[in-house]
């Protein structure tokens, strides 16, 4: 791992242009993701042989037929439990990381995260209301999704009425205000029904479960938001030189920011709907990518998507195996593994500063 990291860093220093190493970095990240996915499918309470997994997956492809030699029980485990769970982890991790990168581009600040504008607080409130009042578990994802979108819309509306249209500072302040307010309401509701505390907290701490229906529920939003975000890499690079210059270069900064914010918020809401509030990924994965592959959003966005997916698959693997049969909350794992790794990376790449 250490060798690979320093090799990438060296390549980055020596390379004449980011464009040349872009396909290479993406290919490397995709290879890592494939390994993570395989590990996620193999490892668990019952091991499944890697050869069987590969052949079984190939067999599912059209025009390919392969005999995996897996027992029916193993096959059921693979397709009904492991695969949906691994896919879900990859989708959630990718969405949170690419949304974080999008927010950072919009706010020109590497410390912005996908929950900056009230998505987390909004989702927290609506989910708490759902758990406390309606008590239908199946509706939690929809409530969380609506709450996350609602929180961001409220912050955006307030930010734009209070400040110069499209200015980012007022928007962040509005996000802070909206988040605090919604969190206060959420805490109040939660204190009214202390007996539901456990369920509320387990949602807030976040978790991935293997359920195809949830995967399909967010798939359309995930695809649309990821495609829109990836398409705006070049324009976010233009925004990085400031509004005046972006405008003088013929780019409508306010409109680009709005579109990227919408897409990033949609991505965040999709992830929050099925996995609760998982922190750390949205802020740290893009940062790691920047350290290794440069600051151009044309690199940062796609690499964040892929690296976020790998990271979450690994985190989920740890969450479900370390204390098996008990599961750790995944938010705990992301920070527990992620923070030391991040500090190590910061030290290793000290010279390159953002």
């Amino acid at each position: 791992m250490g060798e690979r990291v320093s090799a990438v860093v060296d390549a980055g220093r020596a390379g004449a242009g980011a464009a040349r190493r872009r396909p290479l970095a993406l290919a490397a990240a995709l290879a890592v993701l494939a390994l993570c996915l395989l590990a996620g499918l193999m490892i668990g309470a019952a091991g499944v042989p890697v050869r069987g997994i590969v052949l079984e997956l190939l067999d599912r492809l059209p025009l390919v037929s392969a005999n995996s030699g897996l027992a029916p029980v193993e096959r059921g485990l693979l397709f009904q439990l492991r695969l949906p769970r691994v896919v879900m982890a990859a989708v959630v991790g990718g969405l949170l990381a690419v949304a974080g990168a999008g927010y950072q581009g919009v706010f020109r600040n590497p410390l912005a995260d996908p929950y900056l504008l009230g998505a987390a607080a909004g989702a927290g409130l609506t989910t708490t209301l759902m758990i406390v009042l309606v008590q239908v578990d199946g509706l939690v994802p929809i409530a969380a999704f609506a709450g996350a979108i609602g929180g961001v819309l409220l912050a955006y509306a307030l930010g734009n009425t209070a400040g110069r249209a499209g200015g980012t500072a007022t928007l962040v302040l509005a996000g802070v205000a909206v988040s605090s307010f919604l969190s206060a309401v959420q805490t109040f509701v939660q204190q009214l029904r202390v007996e539901q505390l456990q369920r509320i907290y387990s949602w807030i701490l976040g978790g991935i479960d293997g359920d195809w229906s949830k995967v399909w529920l967010i798939a359309p939003y995930a695809v649309v938001s990821a495609v829109v975000l990836l398409a705006h890499g070049r324009l976010l690079d233009v925004l990085s030189v400031g509004d005046d210059e972006a405008t003088s270069l013929g780019v409508n900064a306010v409109r680009v920011r709005f579109v990227v914010l919408c897409a990033a918020s949609l991505a965040t809401a999709s992830a929050v709907a099925v996995s609760g509030l998982i922190g750390f990924v949205g802020i740290v994965v893009p940062h790691v990518v920047r350290r290794l592959a440069g600051v151009s959003y044309r690199v940062v966005l796609p690499l964040s998507l892929v690296a976020g997916a790998s990271f979450m698959v690994l985190a989920d693997l740890v969450a479900r195996t370390v204390l098996a049969p008990a599961e750790l909350p995944i938010g705990v794992v992301t920070a527990f593994i992620g923070a030391p790794f991040f500090v190590g990376l910061l030290r290793a790449t000290r010279a390159v500063d953002t």
Binding site: L235, V241, T247, R290, S296, D353, T354
Partner: protein, 266 residues
Amino acid sequence: MSTPGGGVNLVEVRDLSVELDGRPVLSEIGLSAGGGEWLAVIGPNGAGKSTLLKAMMGLVEARGEVLVDGVAVRGLKPRQRARLMAYAPQSPVLPASLTVFEYALLGRTPYISYLGRDTRDDREITGSVLERLDLSALAARPLGRLSGGERQRVVLARALVQRAPVLLLDEPTTALDLGHQQQVLELVDRLRLADGLTVVTAIHDLSLAGQYADAMLLIAGGRLVASGPVKEVLTEPLLARHFGARVRVEGGADGRPLVNLIRPGD
């Protein structure tokens, strides 16, 4: 004389007025410059020099007309306008980790469609501008590791990559030492003479302005108070009245006026 736009690169401003929060900042400014001419906008601090350039570029709301080769720029889409005028602000934002090449390539933005990507042509144009400005060796260097003079050259490179016939430069020599000031201004001078670029600079150093510009525009309190050839604007009475400065204006060896401050008792 080869001109990027194919026209005479004439920029005209008519009755340009700007209000900020209901307070007039610029009132009915008019100017005209073309065909490789260098126009220096001078005036005391707060006179509205930067605002004039921003208003021309469409960065602040304004009334009045801005024409490039007869085309009303303010009615154009931003992308089309950016092909006619390039602008470098007084303190440009230079993201520390962006490389020189990536930054200069941003100048191609007006030629790339909303969701498009840069082509080989865009990269070649960028590369040739970097070469022309002796920046090729720095192409892969992050902006954060450049010296002040290099930084200013890189900003200029980005503006040139834009291939606009009119260059608006806001204080291109601020924060540079004497040698680098000269270097940057010489460079602008060479480029505009070679390419016929029309250059409009806001500049507060009157001697520098006098050395390089062909014509001058003196604004004070948002109003145009004098304009014309350098010799007619850089005069002791005008500078005394509008800058509140006691100066002696002398003809240099090449006939260009030099502005010197007078110490009390001299």
